[in-house]
């Protein structure tokens, strides 16, 4: 009976996840803004992403608090005054990659994903381009795009010292591992 249950559970999970699912638990995101006094830059290294090669579904979720800045005050202002991370703790992208990419063949493929991009609680439908690289079975996705603060209702106060630009450059890089049948969860 126990075995049957286990098999049943495993079967359920396999159905949920599937063979064509790729996951990444250490998505690297860099944000950069040129500013008059000093360029502002931050890195996060523990975003998560799921890519379903079968359906083309592509999702990202980055914790705002995981962004680290060179200066402590910048980090505090980013969280408190700009992104309000206590109210909006995550930035997400949920979309689909257009067309089909053959992950069995090595190479670099330009890809385009369209979907909901949510920052500061405001969702924008965005089409974002990037590159998908397959090398020896390892799938890596990279992308660079701009985000306008105004699009996400992020106010840039006039009195602050560290002025940020109206558009922020975002760089994303994720190296995926394939979810295996015999090791379905995590």
């Amino acid at each position: 009976m126990k075995h049957i249950l286990l098999i049943l559970l495993a079967w359920l999970t396999v159905h949920q996840a599937g063979q064509e699912t790729y996951v990444c638990k250490n998505v690297k995101v860099n944000l950069f803004s040129s500013a008059p006094i000093e360029d502002i830059e931050a890195n996060s290294t523990n975003g998560v992403s799921v890519y379903n090669a079968g359906t083309g579904e592509l999702e990202f979720s980055i914790s705002i608090r995981s962004f680290h800045f060179p200066k402590a005050l910048m980090e505090e202002h980013f969280n408190e005054n700009y992104i309000e991370s206590d109210k909006f703790p995550k930035a997400t992208f949920k979309g689909k990659i257009q067309g089909h990419v053959d992950l069995t063949k090595d190479g670099t493929y330009p890809v385009t994903a369209t979907g909901d991009f949510q920052v500061h609680g405001v969702t924008q439908i965005r089409t974002i381009t990037g590159n998908l690289k397959v090398s020896g079975g390892v799938v890596t996705m990279t992308s660079e795009f701009m985000v306008k603060c105004a699009d996400h209702h992020i106010d840039i106060p006039q009195i602050v010292f560290h002025h940020i630009a109206e558009s922020i450059r975002i760089r994303v890089s994720a190296t995926y591992t394939q979810l295996k049948n015999n090791n379905p969860s995590k």
């Binding site: 914790s63 060179p70 206590d86």
Partner: protein
Amino acid sequence: MKRIIIAITLLTLVTGLKAQQTDTTKKAGRKMSSTDSLLNAMSPEDKHQDVIGAFKATRLILSQTTTTVKRNNLNFLVIHRFGDIGTPTGGGHTLIGLDAVSDVYIGFEYGLSDNLNVDFGRNTIGGLIEFGLKYAVLHQKMDDSSPIAITLFGEYGVRPYGSFTSYAARNSYLGQAIISRKFTSALSLQVSPIYVYSNTAIPDLFGNDKGFFALSGAVRYKFTKHMSLVVDYEHPFSSYRMDHKFPDPLGVGIEVETGGHVFTLNITNSRAVSEINSLSNTQSDYARGQFRLGFTISRMFDFNHHEQWKTSN
């Protein structure tokens, strides 16, 4: 039979949970896919993180806050207290006391680590020089695993001028535990039990307590992203001071932070900036017009360099 029942119960539970999930996602107006649930399962929990920004500055009007200067940062402070507004020496004659200076504090606070600070400063009143150590023991957590933040502050004060019987007679000590909680993104509260001891009582009057406990309480209410209302109150539990009707120091102010700078414009009855002085010797009373304008300028210098950070990331 028993096992079959357990299996059925488990199955119903699983399907039940699934149904609930679709319910909530339907409400959100979006279909929950397996990719979604996998992403959610993988997302790291944010809840155990520190609550940040309970107080913007290391000091309010009278008190220290639980906030510390971060590692390799230097905070430069200039704190002013002007003359009485409502007494005959105030008014138009001295432009509501702005011509008269009651006390000026110039000081530095440096972060040895994110949690440990060394402070140094000098006051006009008594020429008091202060050396302080501030240590953040406990941080408030977002999941309330720690509902409060606790910071310990200790300082040594010395009055280098004036006639004293010995060097030791010039010394004062202050120790306090600052306990704060950020209730909402706008409202923070703190209380701190304090102990002050001066080898020569301040003021040096017959029967005055050299050492006494005190309690301070402060509120910060953020009404815009960069402006807050702060109220700061202290009460010394000293029988001499209570018997002689020393008024409690009370300050009300507006705090403006501009990223790097924090300005506080305030009104207090306390003439002194240093807590050693304001707790020991506040004799000016709102009721007698003995209150004053004051300001605090706090400027943070960060010595962590961008280039260095780039290479380490």
